[in-house]
Homo-oligomer: 418 residues x 2
């Protein structure tokens, strides 16, 4: 464990330095995962203007690493890789403040090794650590962890208020400690999750585990927005990492969690069968966007700003008042909030004997600097009215406080908990 | 549907022609997925001798296609892609022979379109079909389907005999119709599975569905053998597609299923926790291979043939008599059988409240020309004695007859069922 060596102030990491180092400098094409010993990511390498590499052979995807240490935790402003496991732990009753700190030192040490492609200290399958594949490990704290460490619980760090659309199942809610483990390769994610869970076991019980996927690396051109299982382009409106706008949307500016953020994770079941019964035009009306291009129904392309004032020849708004996009944006309430969405798909075997042909949906993940000021108003509006609610049901919900990143020799959350 | 147009004899496809066309011509590096309009696969493209592409920009992985039509079905001798869904259907009681043939025509039409990157005829999300990502769709028949179509059931097409190691759960066993849907991209697999299930729904109920994964494309160099969740290199000894040896191991030489094969699919739970308690040497003894390189304990590299006669200074065989490899090979029984293994990993959320930290294992898939002559002796020996049984438990088991491939205008299984 490195927790004791040369503790350093994370604030010594200047933002400029980090931008240059690439750990938050993610460009408009969604590229920019820094790689060890390489000054370009594989994705950049694969698609230069002339279609050839300017720097020689592309590295294998398995070899690409994303820096673990830094001002912010990785796994938020870094590109979302293909595979992710989200898991929540509940601290065992007998674990006290010192126990929690030991657990965090242990997990930080594991994470700093695994993300570099090195085995965890007690790794029983060291060979499986050799392909980090852009692995990021991100930790978040639930209210229980703050209490156990005798630190104040931020007032927003609590279960979300009950929404009328919710049909929450206890098995997917809450938790004391969140780990988001994500990489381009699912075997890498499995191995990392297992090593972290083994080390955590003496301190905590697994509360829930959710595995999600996005497109495999290289399936589409870099920067292509992912489709969700409804076939919708999902995430077009996200702020671009590396911009001031992104920093304002995502990072908490001051207080103990400065440089951190808040995370909302909701398991949203999607009723694919009933969605399929609706014609294409009604499906587009429900979101306010075109299914093929992702463009707003007011026209243009995926990136064209929506024009909510445009109406049809009959005087109806092109982007309907009940549409998901119009409701989310707060157009008719004189409000405007933004969050960073980083969702994953899930698609698992339906319960045996249920007669269903699918059990699928989205692991909705959002990050925002100000949960009550950004996330809640959006969610309240969508709860009140959103055509998409017809086919989606939140079945799990959790909120976590994401501490800032840590420097080499520190542990995750040290500046918050010490 | 194209089932009615220009039915053709699949035997008009000469083997030489197909080898040239690439549909079964898979080279020693595990490459060779044919691609539309491209004479090399992306994987070949990525690693030429000088590290640069000789043919210009690599295609996106999403655009690569594997031919659906041919002498053999795709998905057996073609490289195993990153993501696969295996699903078994049970025919509804009221579906007669003509109903089954209609279902197969429908599924064949869907499969021939989806594998080309075109939407299925009634595709509700046509945009999601646009990235075939080496999609293959392989069909297999259970005994129920043969009976329903009033055709003789091959005597080997039945549940496997009960083995002492089995703890089968009814929810994972058997089925009338198997679909293996595999692609480099999990979203492609999800969409294809859903389209096939929607079209099948009027004819059949979903019996079980199993999702599996392998390394993401590009994670490791082409031809690298995958590790399973125990960290073992798995599949080193497989016959190489495109060789006579492979053809002998895999394809049924005559009878109604000539050009087809038999498929065994077993869900094998792996007890990762107890595996971790064993030291490295004992784990290597249990398989007879080194964990790091996959080489036999008699020495050499992953590809070095095992020397079962070598002994240690104390006179014990280097590859122990109870080891998985020695038992599987039949060394001490004067036997030698081979099968083609094409396994996938699974790693799902453990049942809520179980206290477990993982629910993982392997979707074991094997293909062999002669199930009683090749698979059964191996399985009997491993049931009798195999150190690995200590940490593995078969919890599901199914056998299917894989009909040969079909030509354009035919449907899957036509030569078997008409």
């Amino acid at each position: 464990m490195t927790g004791q060596d040369s503790p350093a102030d994370p604030r010594r990491w200047g933002r400029r330095h980090l931008l240059r180092a690439g750990s938050v400098g993610v460009g408009a094409l969604g590229v920019g995962a820094a790689s060890v010993g390489l000054d370009r990511s594989l994705r950049e390498d694969r698609n230069p203007a002339d279609g050839r590499s300017a720097t020689g052979p592309s590295p294998l995807l398995g070899e690409v690493t994303v820096p673990f240490h830094g001002e912010h935790q990785a796994g938020i402003g870094t590109p979302a890789p293909a595979s992710a496991t989200f898991l929540a732990l509940d601290l065992r009753e007998e674990v006290d403040r010192e126990g929690v700190l030991r657990l965090l030192r242990l997990l930080t040490d594991d994470a700093s090794r695994l993300t570099r492609g090195q085995p965890a200290l007690a790794d029983t399958e060291p060979e499986m650590a050799a392909q980090p594949a852009s692995l990021t490990i991100t930790a978040g704290f639930g209210p229980g962890l703050m209490e156990r460490t005798e630190r104040p619980v931020p007032d927003w760090l609590a279960p979300l208020p009950a929404f009328g659309i919710d049909e929450l199942e206890e098995q997917w809610n809450d938790g004391d400690l969140l780990l988001q483990i994500a990489a381009e390769d699912p075997l890498t994610v499995s191995h990392a999750a297992r090593m972290l869970l083994k080390d955590a076991r003496a301190y905590a019980r697994l509360r829930w585990l959710q595995r999600g996927f996005r497109r495999s690396p290289g399936t589409q051109a870099p920067g292509t927005t992912m489709r969700n299982l409804f076939g919708q382009l999902d995430g077009s409106a996200n702020a671009q990492p590396g911009t001031e706008h992104f920093d304002r949307v995502v990072w908490i500016p001051d207080g103990p969690f400065a440089g951190g953020t808040s995370m909302v994770l909701r398991r949203i079941r999607m009723d694919l069968d009933r969605w399929d019964e609706v014609d294409r035009s009604a499906r587009e009306q429900s979101t306010g966007t075109r299914l093929d291009t992702g463009a707003p129904l007011s026209g243009g392309t995926e990136r064209t700003p929506a024009d909510f004032s445009l109406t049809s020849a009959y005087g109806f708004p092109l982007i309907g008042e009940f549409s998901h996009m119009r409701r989310a944006r707060g157009v008719d309430d004189g409000e405007h909030q933004e969050i960073l969405r980083r969702p994953y798909n899930y698609d698992i075997a339906p319960p045996p004997g249920s007669g269903a042909i699918s059990e699928a949906g989205q692991i909705f993940v959002s990050f925002q600097a100000d949960l009550p000021g950004q996330f809640l108003p959006i969610q309240r509006r969508l709860d009140e009215l959103d055509l998409l609610n017809e086919w989606t049901t939140p079945i799990g919900s959790a909120v976590f406080a994401i501490p800032p990143g840590c420097a080499e020799g520190e542990f995750l959350g040290q500046s918050v908990l010490e």
